[in-house]
Amino acid sequence: MAEVNFTNLVENSQPKRRLTRIGIFILIGVGLLLWSLLVGAGSERGEFVSLMLLWIILIGVLVSIFINAARRQGIIRCSRKAADLCLLERWDEAIEPLQKVLNKPVNQPQIRYQGLLELAGVAEHTGKLDQSRQIYQAIGQEQPHGPLGRLALVGEAIVLLKLDQLADAEAVIRRLEVSVEGPGLKSLVLLARLYQQIKTGHYSEALEDEANKCELARLGLSTKAGYVYGMLALAHKNQTENQDQAKKYWRQATMLIRPENLVRKFPELAQLEQAYPSANGLPEAPEVK
């Protein structure tokens, strides 16, 4: 497959201005009216031509409605496929449907922003961190106050940390900490903050108010709370050398998320994989005798 430039898709998916289309329709309508008033009226041939024109335009409008509806259906189908693949973390396979959705202007903002967030996720997980940051940044700029914009800012903060752009990441996390509400977003900001503290070696800060952090992560992140447990395990290992607590957190983390996935997302956790036993996966079904 050819190398995909993800950031181009942000530009390509910009919605067309509706006024242009309405303007074209008005122009056609006025033209037709003038034609029937100035040329068509009076002669039989003129009347026939204006009737034909009317039919052509009517058929044209119907055809364009059907083409638009078919295109919209196609976009919805691809967007659902991409969403499914991203949920299943099959990032490489999600590229193709995302390209189909975002290669042309998308007039439904919900579909466009959802697709862009997924695209940024794909870029992040396929190692194109710079492109991922640019996409998150573009969403954040277009939707500065909406929940999708805030989600994009969290993504941007994590990617900036992975890129070692620590000062920029700090600025984004601070901005988020003063502006987000609700357990869902707050827990995501907590994840970004914890990662920043782990990345910069501020383990004691990571362990402050530990119980509340765990509770917020549990309520807001569901299975992804495993990342928070993993980071707390790392902080315990390196700060307090409380092996039992670190071991307990690592077990909880690996009960929720497979160790290889934890490490793929946050490579800093690799040292825990070697230090502590991971939880087993779902046991096999007993053999039927």
């Binding site: 009317l54 087993n280 779902l282 046991p283």
Partner: protein, 270 residues
Amino acid sequence: MLGNQEVQKIIGRIDTGIRLGRLIRIAIFVGLIYSLVIERQSNISNAILIGVGVVWVALGIRARRKADQTTAASQMIASGGLTQAAGMLLEVCRGFCLHKPVALMACHNLAVILQKQRQWPAAWQLCELVRSWADKRLGELRILSESVRAECSLAMNNLGATYESLSILSRLELSVTERLSVLPTEINYCLQVGQPEAVMNDLPNKVTLAAMLPTQLAGATHASMALAAHAAKQMARRDWLWERATLYCPAEELLAQRPGLQDVAKQRKS
């Protein structure tokens, strides 16, 4: 909270609105054919043409506005603003809307709110209305509404209707998000009809899906799977599922929701 009478009124209005919309569309089509083919170029046909155009555009703009309100209400539901969303949807449902999909989507969203408020019979009735009008073109809406219907039926202990909805859904090709909305009902139904082995079929996939659910639901679904594993005498799996369930929700919370889990919790402790 919506009263039963109010729900009945809304159902009546949407039903009448959809019928009226169908009549208006037929009238527009007949008017167009009459003025463009049968009686063309006369004053009457021109007047009909202009009239049809004005009505079509006016109703189209109205439907567009209602579609925007419905979309905004969906987003509010997702972010937890149920009361505000319900107010907006009631406004959509009370007025006439030419486009059937918009009216049915508003009706479905209202059913989702009632489902979240545990007003099962009212939500079920709205689902029935969506079911009676949603055709193949509205496949996604049908699936969503059928999964809400399944959950309401199960909560109302109407196992026949639950089975009917689940079997319809099992014949369709569902997306991951749609599978997620059906999974908890499917598992609870199997437990209620005494078929825990059915839950154990394809368990790894079910666990993968359950992990994508929001915290409370993920906890409850893992706990249900643990109960099924206990009943199917797959103890290793039961312990693993229960341990994972308690990472989503505290054990006391799970036990309060489903006292049948006492045995699972005890066995795990011992």
